[in-house]
């Protein structure tokens, strides 16, 4: 079972490699931003300024960062209810995300969607889907459009380990392969569905990778806590997709530091599990990586501070923003802008 993180990873100093410093700093900043913004979301929840539910990606940031870094403008993301990180990683402003969680008028969807449905078409974030599995076929459809129209964008679909056991997963994978669609399926295996360990309900050890052969796909497993590994794997998947070689299915091994949702104290974890994984916190790993490549502590600190400023300013802006105005209750049910179902 994919239960214990690698702890013996020996780090060898490398001076030049395939990833530029600028790219690395971009990925670092993205991870710091997700971490801070989500911690802030949790604080705001404790202040009762965020209502409803929310699902954090604390500990899983390297995946969103690595994938986003490999994407081109115009590529599309399809996320789950655990979608803050993926939304932020595509460049959606923190203020718009926090504003949405807080039901403010400056929110991404002005409070109509909430935490589980973050969407920013302008940034290629084509929605966050809260019914398990539904967006895998939807991502196929977007990829089909690109293929049909001869457009070069790729659709990326994020989902969890638990999602691999629902029917739509199977239908989407088969469909994507037979139509050779430019879609990349990214499974974030964080070892749990909500509270149940994935190993207790899955017939194979690797819920995504061990199913790849059922669709004629190669078995790909990456360290999901290492943004560089994710990034490199994604570059190859995008290359395949753009050159008409079809979809990829990538299983990223990771762990969530927080509970499943804000209501979950995560008591079901075996003792020591969280602590072991925290040793492999993606930010710890990435800072070590930056050091290896000669980035100074001061430079890292500057990025962290700058992100903190951004998150603080966004928080203040949201607190100052008006609650969403009630006149939007009836708008955008239909394309005519309204809600009339009769004449």
């Amino acid at each position: 079972m994919a239960k214990s993180p690698k702890q013996d990873r020996s780090v060898t100093a490398v001076v030049n490699d395939d990833i530029s410093e600028a790219k690395r700093l971009e990925m670092f900043r993205a991870q710091v931003l997700m971490r801070q913004a989500e911690q802030r979301a949790f604080d705001l929840f404790l202040e009762n300024l965020v209502k409803g539910t929310s699902h954090l990606s604390l500990g899983q940031e390297a995946i969103a960062a690595g994938v986003a870094a490999a994407m081109e403008p115009g590529d599309l993301s399809f996320c789950t209810y655990r979608g803050h990180a993926h939304t932020l990683a595509r460049g959606v402003p923190v203020e718009k995300v926090l504003g949405e969680l807080m039901g403010r008028d400056n929110g991404l969807m002005r409070g109509k969607g909430g935490s589980m449905h973050l969407t920013s078409v302008e940034h290629g974030v084509m929605g966050s889907y809260a019914i398990i599995g539904a967006h895998l076929p939807i991502a196929c459809g977007a990829a089909w459009r690109a293929q049909y129209k001869g457009q070069s964008d790729v659709s990326v679909c994020f989902f969890g380990d638990g999602t691999t056991n629902i029917g739509a997963f199977h239908e989407a994978l088969n469909f994507a392969v037979i139509w050779k669609l430019p879609v990349v399926f990214v499974c974030e295996n964080n070892l749990y569905m909500e509270y149940t360990p994935i190993s207790e309900v899955t017939a194979v050890e690797h819920p995504a990778a061990d199913r790849a052969s059922a669709y004629g796909l190669p078995r790909i497993i990456v360290d999901g806590n290492d943004a560089d590994e994710v990034y490199r794997t994604m570059l190859e998947a995008f290359r395949k997709a753009r050159s008409g070689e079809g979809p990829s299915l990538i299983e990223c091994l990771t762990y969530r530091h927080s509970g499943h949702s804000r209501a979950d104290p995560a008591k079901y974890r075996p003792e020591g599990e969280l602590e072991r994984w925290k040793l492999r916190d993606p930010l710890t790993i990435y800072k070590a990586r930056l050091r290896e490549f000669g980035v100074s502590e001061a430079d890292m600190k500057a990025i962290e501070d700058d992100v903190k400023r951004v998150v603080d300013e966004a928080t203040e802006a949201c607190k100052a923003a008006p609650f969403t105005s009630t006149d939007i209750l009836f708008t955008d049910v239909y394309a005519d802008g309204g809600w009339a179902w009769r004449n």
């Binding site: 599995g133 991502a139 977007a142 990829a143 469909f175 049910v333 809600w339």
Partner: protein
């Protein structure tokens, strides 16, 4: 002007729109090479090629999900779900995805697609291949639902559905595929949300849909001829948007109303219409609104039993007569 079957009208309606707009694509099981299991899509593959007319695996969730993803990003897909009953295996898209994406995203996401389904009984296909599923799909804010009863309406409403910027469920009746009707030449574009008064009358209004339309008309003939009861017959055509003006207008003239529904009684579309009439035309009514439906049973396979279950001309005739005389 040509005589066309309802079946051929489907292909003509789709072809009209595909010829007009390259973004219209069509997918489903056995719809391309085989021309559809009801032969309603014969010739489309040949005319528009395999990139636009695509056979799929038996994966209804993938079909509707792919249609949605394509619609969100610029295509106008038409998806076939072969028998309407199979909507149940991909219901998440009908209930939770298509209709909500625009609202949840505050208008950012659009979903202009059409889902065609083969609806209804009469073919002795039994309980899982004969249902009338209007009441599985009409309750979702954001979704539109049409159910044409004639070849010309098929062509015109198909065009309206494909051009509509919202998701539309397009309900074809399997037992009407072989029926024929006049269809004018050239482009035909109808309007969603419009009912049609197919026969004017003064004593009562019969509100029908799909295969119940010809039966309502036949019952109206008999009621006039044999009993001197003058029935107005309204073909609802579009359940969402619903043409309440036409319906309420007719009731205001006749003061009595009957809905004629192929679905089993509970929560058929007639319930919604009756609840509107009861609220908004209460003082127009001279007697109780009556719903004529299939009884509360799954549909049996035997021809004798199936014919007894679905409202027949005889049952419509007798129910209206009894109610108007009492």
């Amino acid at each position: 002007m040509a005589q066309l079957t309802y079946r051929d009208a489907v292909a003509r309606g789709i072809a009209q729109e595909m010829a007009r707009d390259e973004d219209v694509v069509f997918l489903g099981e056995d719809i391309a090479k085989a021309g559809g299991v009801f032969k309603a899509t014969v010739g489309l593959l040949e005319q528009f090629g395999p990139l636009r007319v695509r056979d799929t695996p038996i994966s209804e969730q993938a079909i509707l999900g792919a249609a949605m993803g394509a619609a969100m990003t610029g295509l106008k897909p038409i998806a076939e779900i072969m028998f309407a009953d199979f909507i149940a295996v991909c219901y998440d898209y009908i209930a939770n995805e298509f209709p909500k994406s625009r609202y949840m995203t505050n208008g950012q996401v659009k979903c202009p697609l059409v889902v065609r389904v083969g609806n209804g009984g009469g073919a002795r296909f039994g309980a899982q291949h004969s249902q009338s599923i209007e009441n599985w799909v009409m309750q979702f804010p954001g979704l539109k639902v049409v159910a044409p009863s004639s070849p010309v309406d098929i062509v015109g409403l198909m065009a309206a559905a494909v051009r509509d910027p919202d998701p539309v469920i397009f309900i074809e009746h399997k037992s009407l595929y072989a029926t024929t009707g006049e269809v004018p030449d050239g482009e035909i574009v109808d309007t969603l949300g419009t009912a049609k008064i197919l026969r004017t009358g003064s004593d009562c209004t019969l509100i029908a849909l799909g295969m119940m339309v010809p039966r309502a008309l036949a019952a109206a003939e008999r009621l006039q001829a044999e009993e001197g009861i003058s029935c107005e017959v309204v073909d609802v055509r579009s359940l969402v948007p619903l043409d309440t003006q036409t319906i309420l207008g007719s009731v205001a003239r006749t003061h009595r109303v009957f809905t004629i529904e192929e679905n089993p009684r509970v929560l058929g579309w007639g319930a919604e219409i009756v609840s509107i009439i009861a609220d908004e035309a209460f003082y127009d009514l001279d007697g109780p609104p009556v719903r004529i439906t299939t009884p509360n049973i799954p549909l049996p396979a035997s021809d004798i039993l199936e014919d007894l279950a679905i409202p027949s001309v005889g049952r419509i005739f007798e129910t209206v007569l009894r109610s108007m005389r009492s």
